[in-house]
């Protein structure tokens, strides 16, 4: 009998404090065999469990092209994330995954890529960015637009710096009005406004967008105005999940189980779904 609910054990090898309430864990699967054969694709997620407190769903934030370490980032909200926050380097957590579908990166080779992320929404996008950057020659222009409420809410500051320093990547970082600090050199303004100002060309471009629902709601019309096709706008849905296996029914919206049939959808697919995310 196979137990599909049984997680792998993973050791926390490093903890990075991104913001006061956001952390990044670097994980190593404890079973060497499993670790060796473990692979996933950009956009997939996993269930991270603290034994005694339960499991929580986050995307895998690291790139499949850099498989030796699994990274995840989470904002402290509920029971599990609070329990995760209490852990130290060297502690063991449960890891189930990878689950769900992924961004069709292979199919989109030869195109420009526009990344738009807000807040902790950079985590799933970061995985794709790193993946695309590792396959840099297969894609044309790469643009990253990232926004957060304030400077202290920006996650992956070390990554942002890295991307900004790359000559072949255009990185725009913005904070909401009022969130800037003295010496802030980036943009000030909401993500949709910044995207509109930036006006990336839509032709032969795919957009990967992830962030708070409000941001997505206002950014998509901007992209549509710029001429993006529905099929070229990708996002990941963040429904509440428990099993990750298409069983528990929690993430069912319309005809899909987000955990199995998603979490990556293009805008054309999303329009077909009832608005319950």
């Amino acid at each position: 009998m196979e137990n599909i609910y049984k997680p792998y054990l993973a050791e926390i090898t490093e903890i990075i404090d991104e913001t006061p309430d956001t952390k990044t864990f670097k994980l190593r699967l404890k079973d060497a065999e499993v670790a060796k054969s473990f692979n996933f694709k950009a956009g997939q997620f996993a269930e991270y469990g603290v034994f005694g407190d339960g499991e929580s769903t986050f995307c895998i934030a690291s790139s499949p092209t850099r498989p030796d370490v699994i990274e995840c980032s989470f904002k402290v909200y509920g029971k599990v994330t609070q329990a995760l926050r209490r852990l130290n380097e060297g502690d063991t957590i449960g890891f189930r995954g990878p689950y769900g579908n992924w961004f069709p990166l292979e199919e989109q080779k030869g195109k420009n890529v526009l990344f738009i992320a807000g807040g902790i929404g950079l985590a799933p996008v970061r995985c794709v960015i790193d993946n695309v950057l590792d396959w840099r020659k297969d894609y044309k222009d790469i643009t990253i637009v990232y926004g957060a409420r304030s400077v202290s809410d920006l996650v992956y500051k070390y990554k942002l710096k890295e991307w900004q320093e790359m000559s072949d990547v255009k990185t725009v970082i913005t904070v909401d009005p009022g969130g800037e600090t003295d010496g802030w050199t980036g943009e000030v303004g909401f993500v949709p406004t910044v995207v509109e100002k930036l006006a990336p060309k839509a032709e032969n471009t795919i957009a990967v967008i992830c962030g708070p629902p409000v941001m997505i709601k206002f950014t998509i019309p901007v992209l549509k105005k710029l001429g993006f096709k529905d099929e070229d706008i990708f996002t990941t849905l963040e429904n509440r999940m428990k099993c990750g296996l298409g069983k528990c029914g929690r993430c069912n919206i319309g005809n899909v189980y987000v955990c199995k049939d998603g979490p990556v959808f293009n805008y054309a697919q999303m329009k077909e779904l009832p608005e319950e995310f």
Binding site: N3, G49, Y77, R250
Partner: protein
């Protein structure tokens, strides 16, 4: 399909043997299907009201451990939860109950396979019984079943006269099972059981599930959802007595400082917190939306995805509803 005959007395002996062989024997009581110790207590009554709860809890328990863990300072060990491999025989199940495994098999086995469910089903023998009960809430005939449907039964009983039952052998599993008890069975007379079946009054067909499916596809936004949502009290009685509702929750429970278990418990889509995100956002924030999800999931989404209606027409949810919300009536009104 083979058919045998068994006398009432032998039926009791048959059951006694089942118990004597160490199998679990279940039979319908008033509230739920009960574990039977003394088979002579079983009353087989085709006219009996369906139990308040279905028997899905015996294959998909209301609470089951799926994993045990023990924590150390940094380390954790896990221990698999075991499924009881005892054979379970359910005796006298209503046709509206028996179909449930066919429907549940789909969700528990598309893509990932839930062996907690599968192992139990594997060890389950369903002996169905023709049904002559019907009330305002029954609608098996509207969802493709009937009071004489053998769907999901391994063996199916039809009373043919005062003292005898026809036993239809529906599956190989059933055939194999009664092999060991062949002494109780005599050769069957299919024409008698046919005649008995034909006498059964079939509940009226209340709706056309295809039309309903079509209507649901077009009426995601509809004032009726809020109408019923305002009356519904948001409990999960309907989901938990339903033979095919299958949503669950996973929770960890410590039972000592270092040890604990991960439980798989029933959960219901009518609970407000079912889809509540940790951030406070709730995609289905009002009861109307949740009720809509319930109907859509049963009569549209599940049909689209698994080609089965997620409903057996047993009417339990309506019968038990504290505010008398009648699913049959609501679905029947899902037409233009």
């Amino acid at each position: 399909m083979d058919e045998k005959i068994i006398s009432k007395q032998n039926l009791v002996n048959f059951c006694k043997d089942i118990v004597a062989n160490g199998h679990n024997l279940l039979a319908p009581g008033k509230t739920e299907y009960n574990l039977i110790q003394d088979p002579s207590e079983i009353v087989l009554d085709t006219k009996s009201k369906p139990t308040k709860a279905s028997y899905k809890t015996f294959v998909f328990p209301k609470a089951e451990p799926i994993l045990y863990y023990k924590r150390g300072k940094n380390d954790v060990v896990m221990l698999d939860a075991k499924v009881d491999e005892k054979k379970t025989v359910i005796f006298g199940a209503k046709p509206c109950d028996t179909n449930s495994f066919n429907i549940l098999n789909k969700i528990f086995n598309w893509d990932y396979k839930d062996d907690f469910y599968n192992e139990r089903v594997k060890n389950f023998i369903v002996i169905g019984l023709m049904c002559e009960y019907s009330d305002r809430y029954c609608f098996c005939t509207s969802v493709g079943s009937s009071p004489v449907s053998e769907k999901g039964s391994d063996l199916f009983l039809v009373p043919i006269d005062e003292n005898n039952y026809a036993v239809r052998i529906v599956t190989d599993k059933g055939k194999e099972f009664i092999g060991a008890y062949s002494k109780y069975f005599t050769e069957g007379a299919p024409e008698k059981s046919k005649a008995a079946e034909e006498k059964v009054k079939q509940p009226e067909v209340a709706f056309d599930s295809k039309q309903v499916h079509e209507w649901l596809g077009k009426n995601f936004e509809h004032p009726k959802w809020d109408g019923v949502g305002d009356l519904c009290l948001s409990c999960a009685q309907c989901a938990f007595v339903c033979p095919v509702c299958h949503c669950f929750d996973l929770v960890d429970e410590d039972y000592s400082y270092t040890e604990g278990r991960r439980m798989k418990n029933w959960d219901g889509c009518q609970f407000g917190h079912f889809t509540l995100h940790a951030s406070g956002h709730n995609p289905r924030d009002i009861q109307g939306k949740r009720y809509r999800q319930r109907i859509n999931h049963k009569f549209k989404y599940y049909v689209d995805k698994f080609d089965e209606i997620l409903c057996t027409g047993c009417g339990r949810c309506s019968r038990g509803c504290a505010v008398s919300i009648d699913i049959k009536e609501i679905v029947a009104n899902c037409t233009d």
